[in-house]
Amino acid sequence: MKLIVAIIQPHRLEEVKTELYKADVNLITVSEVLGHGRQKGVTEVYRGAKETGNLIRKIRLEIAVNENFVEPTIKAIVKGAKTGETGDGKIFVVDLKECVRIRTEERGGVAIG
């Protein structure tokens, strides 16, 4: 089992969702986050006071999958989120020790899908 964490551009969320559904990945958690990588943030001005390096709005996806779904999920995220410009985001894949479905108390791979 793996936990896939992806940071993407907010305006690509719809495409990424569409691609994930196509790849049969239906269980995702989405949150709004702030951050920046190489883009070094944006400049904002309030009553003339300039603030540089402000954090940029991003979307974080969390998807837990079984091994055979790892590549399809990564491909789907890349297909949906890639524009070719700085700021497209990153995908992190982490080992997942355990997964419990609260309703049934099932554990492991069966609990994921």
Partner: protein, 408 residues
């Protein structure tokens, strides 16, 4: 000169003033949260810009006596517009009170249009577009319908508070602008949900409140016509809101908050030209008609043709304004307003024809000139932001501010 009338018109002007910020919240709540400031900013700067335009030359072009394309130039910079009443417009209040009351109409009309190109217009281009539009569309049409010597006025066109001058012109211009500008990027696959519906309700409520100044104030005196306009305004808005909610309940299974406020605003726009000429019972019929027709325009016609009039300016204001103007030709009665005329249902079919001519002229003129202005500004400045700026959102890309923080 009458003190009560003067107080009434000045307070009405203040009520209409409130409608532009109200519209900003009505619109701002519907867009995505990365764009709300751009809508608030556009409404606010229109207020500043057109207030000045009006004093310097807009009022003269609109209302100075003339039988030409514009009003005359003799009231440029308000020269000759003093505290003495101007009998042509309002014989019991200072001329300047009439002027400032009218300035609020000149402000909100171009502000209505911004719903059509919301979330994708370049701010600098928007300023040029607005100034040209106010000068070449609003001012002449205002003169034709309301100004001394205006040819539609001479023809007998009835427009109590701006069904033609405000709502038809702005709504049709919005359609032209939406078609020329094209859709927002990536909205084919999903329609973005309004980011703050409570703001939309707040805006609609304040619009309704301000509309009492808009319509009742247009009587320009404390009299029975003002009271009638007040009642018909409230009645039509209520009938329209109620029937929109029922329509949704029947068609979609649930009545929505967004639906009832949209219906109410449609009812308000529709009763505007008729408010001083029709009875409260006619206002109920007009309100219901407003809901049905605007609902069809927004829910059926727009998707069929695929233009992205983002906030339904055409579907609500043009359809409402045109419908209300035609309805005036049906329901108007001299028993309500002796200075008006009888409509078709009161034995005068000619009035309906006159109303039809008024609407057709205004719609055609506004559409054509909006296209010309749009193209001109597009060539010199470029009307639309880059795709990247659109994705980032207009708040950050046009104003370097954001409305909401995520952390703290």
């Amino acid at each position: 000169m009458n003190g009560a009338d003067t107080v009434f018109v000045l307070l009405s002007a203040a009520l209409v003033m409130l409608m532009t910020p109200a519209l900003a919240f009505f619109y701002g709540g519907i867009v995505r949260k990365k764009n709300i400031l751009s809508l608030l900013m556009q409404c606010f700067i229109i207020f500043c810009l057109i207030s000045i335009q009006w004093i310097v030359f807009g009022y003269s072009l609109s209302f100075a006596p003339s039988s030409g394309f514009w009003g005359g130039l003799k009231w440029l910079g308000l020269i000759g517009v003093g505290v003495k009443p101007c009998a042509d417009y309002a014989g019991t209040i200072p001329h300047q009170a009439f002027m400032i009351f009218q300035s609020m109409f000149a402000v909100i009309t171009p502000a209505l249009i911004i719903g059509a190109f919301a979330e994708r217009i370049k701010f600098s281009a928007f300023l040029f577009f607005t100034l040209l539009w106010a000068t070449f569309v609003y001012d002449p049409l205002c003169h034709w319908v309301w100004g001394t010597g205006g040819w539609l006025k001479e023809l007998g066109v009835l427009d109590f508070a701006g069904g033609i001058v405000v709502h038809t012109t702005a709504g049709v211009a919005a359609l032209a602008a939406a078609i020329l500008m094209g859709k927002r990027k990536r909205i084919d696959s999903y329609v973005p949900a309004p980011h703050n519906l409570p703001f939309v309700v707040l805006g609609a409520g304040l619009l309704w409140f301000g509309w009492f100044g808009f319509n009742a104030g247009s009587a320009l005196a404390v009299n029975g016509i003002a009271v009638n306009a007040f009642i018909t305004t409230n009645t039509a808005a209520a009938a329209a809101g109620l029937s929109w909610a029922l329509l949704e309940w029947i068609r979609n299974g649930k009545p929505t908050v967004f639906g009832i406020v949209t219906g109410s605003v449609a009812g308000l726009a529709t009763i505007t030209p008729a408010s001083g000429f029709v009875s409260p019972l006619s206002a109920i019929v007009i309100g219901i008609l407003a809901s049905v027709l605007c609902f069809i325009a927004v829910a059926l016609i727009k998707p069929r043709f695929g233009y992205d009039d983002s906030l339904d300016v055409f579907g609500v204001h043009a359809v409402g304004g045109m419908l209300g103007t035609l309805a005036t030709g049906l329901f108007a009665s001299k028993l309500i307003n002796a200075a008006g005329a009888d409509g078709l249902f009161f034995g005068n079919p000619k009035q309906f024809l006159i109303q039809l001519i008024g609407v057709a002229v205004a719609a055609l003129y506004a559409f054509l000139v909006t296209v010309i202005i749009y193209k001109l500004v597009d060539i010199f400045v470029g009307m639309r932001v880059s795709e990247k700026d659109e994705f980032i959102g207009l708040d950050l890309s046009q104003h370097r501010e954001r409305a909401y923080t995520v952390i703290e």
